[in-house]
């Protein structure tokens, strides 16, 4: 049931992403092309529809916005030139900013760890990333076998690389967070 319809969200999304969700005529191409749609609670064309309806809470707390892998299949095929992937990016960004409770915690935690890793050292170090992600998400045991295998193949470097210009990188993060 949807009660209050507002154009606010649509405008906000347009301001941030340049994408006009209102242009959509619901052809469904974005959804039928999406390889992740089976795992989504709201399909991409419905995301666009709900943006038109201004259903902000529902979108920001959806699983879809985190499941979307930004593969851009939707974007390249939309006949109305709506970059659906960017709309979803924007919704994710808004969800983080507004502290919306996501349907799937783990994915935003991963992104947080990923970026945290960059902020700290300037580059991604897989053991650091995995460690922090596993601690924060509480998902301690999955992929243990894989990690052992990779260690055995010498594929995991335990000592992280450090970028000299770490301060620059941190400044970027600070400014971007404002």
């Amino acid at each position: 049931m949807i009660h209050t319809l507002t154009p606010d969200l649509e405008r906000e999304v347009e301001r941030r992403s340049g994408q006009k969700a209102r242009n959509c005529f619901q052809c469904g191409k974005c959804s039928t092309g999406c390889l992740f749609n089976f795992a989504m609670d709201i399909l991409p064309h419905q995301v666009i529809k709900l943006v038109q309806y201004g259903q902000k809470e529902r979108l920001l707390s959806s699983g879809t916005i985190w499941i979307c892998a930004s593969c851009e299949t939707c974007t390249v095929r939309c006949p109305n030139e709506i970059e659906v992937a960017r709309v979803i990016d924007t919704l994710r960004q808004m969800a983080l900013e507004e502290g919306a409770v996501p349907a799937d915690r783990k994915i935003p935690i991963f992104h947080k760890c990923f970026l945290g890793n960059i902020a700290a050292t300037g580059r991604i170090s897989e053991p650091v990333l995995m460690g922090s992600y596993k601690t924060l998400s509480g998902d301690l045991f999955s992929d243990i076998g894989l990690a052992v295998n990779m260690l055995a193949k010498g594929k995991i470097k335990l000592i992280p690389q450090m970028v000299k210009g770490r301060r620059e990188v941190r400044r970027i993060f600070k400014e971007a967070a404002r």
Partner: protein, 290 residues
């Protein structure tokens, strides 16, 4: 020899170390110089643009700014880095407001006016198929690869280089030039789900195994990628499919530069193959290439 400012990307530093080596080795052998961008930092990958737009531009911008100082075009080997660097470059050149904002953040001019290229494209431009063919000393005759670009190499439409964005051809042509019997298939640009590899392994296993099924259906005996992230993801998650899929896939996955090196008869080639999670050596031996 033409030189490029080389952006290796994080995975080259660790899990994809040997692919990085193969890229440098193959490039060098073909007369392409790769000068690493000094003190490069991570491009932010998916996490950047998914969560913070400004960040997703500013992180690559730092690298572009350094590359500007080198006065060279940029060479990339990772599809994700390629996508981010090119994407950020375009936004910065098109949106002056954004550019000056980022300039303030970096303290450097982020407007990179050179070109960001993937090594695959560079080989096409600088070497060309004809010359490549001539350089082959060990044709990959017995190999039946499918080429796999993943989602980020060709998209968004219009952003990436001139290859067909729905049915890219360059890798196929290149592998053919190396002597391989390339198989056609319809999954070249499907996403492998790399960014969800750790968090939603369930989804990724499905996607990856779909790709392997399709590759086998196409009669391929290996998959060739131009992205270390894809490679890692495909290797890591296909064995996992053993649990949920009847037929376990054990299809080797190569980085395209590994095969160039192999076909050109470069020494280093042998030592990269044992590092793969899915051992390609039986296949290569069977094909008389090892």
């Amino acid at each position: 020899m033409r030189e490029f400012a080389y952006f290796p990307g994080c995975s080259q530093g660790s899990s994809a170390h040997e692919y990085g080596e193969s890229a440098v080795a193959a490039a060098e052998a073909l007369g392409i110089g790769l000068r690493e961008i000094p003190d490069w930092s991570c491009c932010g990958a998916s996490s950047g643009h998914m969560t913070n737009h400004l960040l997703s531009v500013a992180l690559p911008a730092r690298n572009l700014a350094i590359a500007s100082e080198m006065g060279l075009d940029v060479a990339v080997v990772c599809a994700a880095c390629y996508n981010r660097l090119r994407g950020a470059q375009r936004e910065l050149l098109e949106d002056e407001g954004l550019a000056s904002k980022v300039e303030g953040m970096l303290g450097k001019d982020p407007r990179f006016r050179g070109e960001v290229l993937h090594l695959l494209d560079i080989i096409f431009r600088e070497v060309g198929l004809e010359e490549l063919k001539e350089r082959v000393s060990r044709p990959l005759k017995e190999l039946k690869p499918v080429s796999y670009y993943g989602c980020l190499m060709a998209r968004p439409r219009g952003l990436m280089t001139e290859d067909d964005y729905e049915n890219p051809q360059r890798m196929d042509r290149l592998l053919e030039a190396l002597g391989a019997e390339v198989r056609g298939w319809s999954y070249k640009t499907d996403c492998c789900g790399g960014s969800l590899s750790l968090t939603r392994t369930d989804i990724v296993v499905k996607l990856v195994n779909r790709l392997f099924e399709a590759a086998e259906e196409a009669g391929a005996d290996c998959i060739v990628t131009a992205c270390p992230m894809c490679l890692a993801n495909l290797e890591m998650r296909q064995a996992e499919g053993t649990l949920s899929y009847k037929a376990p896939h054990q299809l080797p996955v190569f980085f395209f530069t590994e095969l160039i090196a192999l076909a050109l008869g470069l020494d280093g080639a042998r030592k990269w193959f044992p590092k793969h999670l899915i051992d390609p050596q039986p296949l290569l031996r069977g094909a008389g290439l090892l």
